[in-house]
Symmetry: C2
Subunit: 138 residues, 2 copies
DNA sequence: CTTGCTTCTCTAGTGGCTAGAGGAAGTAGC
DNA sequence: GCTACTTCCTCTAGCCACTAGAGAAGCAAG
């Protein structure tokens, strides 16, 4: 029924120190302890931590997750906030993809133009030095 | 000819504290000072800092830039190292784009499926909780 | 001479962990 | 019961690449 932190770590693929860190910053509630002072967890902590982990994988920040968790805790409230957090995140993702794609094009061009000779002929270093007045992305 | 740090900042769009930080970590050489202890810069620092800034914008890490700068300083050496740094970076960018694209699809689906009703019907929170056994990206 | 801007150094904070020290608790085998 | 091993505990400090702020000093214009 109840298991220690290592087992929680195994079940969620979240590292032990990270779990303790999450507890410290209040993302996880303080776990009850055994007589020997070890933390004890149950099924609900697995769920909560999986929620957190998956949200982190999707790039949500800790504060976003805090909000999402708070909203999930009061299921009768409106969904609009959740929707808006996710949508903001989607916009940000689009921006990152666009920026990375531009970056990739530039890098590819640089690598292509590199004559594979000596540095004095290398276009990569030149390209990096040159674009001093590009509009900044991101 | 020689100008102070604020002017260097304006010419390169790198913030003043960041310039001092770069000096501190040895990415920029220690600038000569005026009698009144202010740093003085010239054209070559503008070039070097633009190189750094552009490399950072392209996502290179400080250590990569250190290597690139070292290679640029000995132009008779081979270009292969430069090429390989850029290529590694390109691979990493591809990975990030792929991961972000997958993420976007998932988030879009989540937002679409959200009934725009109350949280208890919201698919977003469910989706975040559910995918406990997705392979982890990145 | 005063006002206001720039610059100086220094320390500490950010986010989201990660690493390591030093010690206690639990577990398995003998 | 003893030993060896693993897991766990707390605490502190480190990572990256900056960013913010305090408090003092320099400098230029009016």
């Amino acid at each position: 029924m109840k298991f220690p932190i290592g087992e929680l770590s195994r079940q969620t693929a979240v590292k032990v120190p990270t779990i303790r860190y999450y507890e410290q910053i209040g993302l996880l509630p303080e776990a009850p302890r055994t007589e020997g002072n070890r933390r004890l967890y149950g099924k609900s902590e697995v769920d909560r931590l999986n929620f957190i982990r998956h949200s982190r994988e999707l790039g949500f920040e800790i504060d976003d997750i805090r909000e999402l968790l708070a909203m999930a805790a009061q299921p009768q409230s409106s969904c609009h906030q959740v929707d808006s957090i996710a949508n903001n995140h989607l916009i940000e993702i689009d921006r990152r993809i666009a920026s990375l794609t531009a970056l990739k094009a530039e890098l590819s061009r640089m690598v292509d133009e590199c004559g594979h000779g000596r540095v004095c002929d290398c276009r990569i270093i030149e390209a990096l030095a040159d674009h001093s007045h590009c509009r900044s992305e991101h």
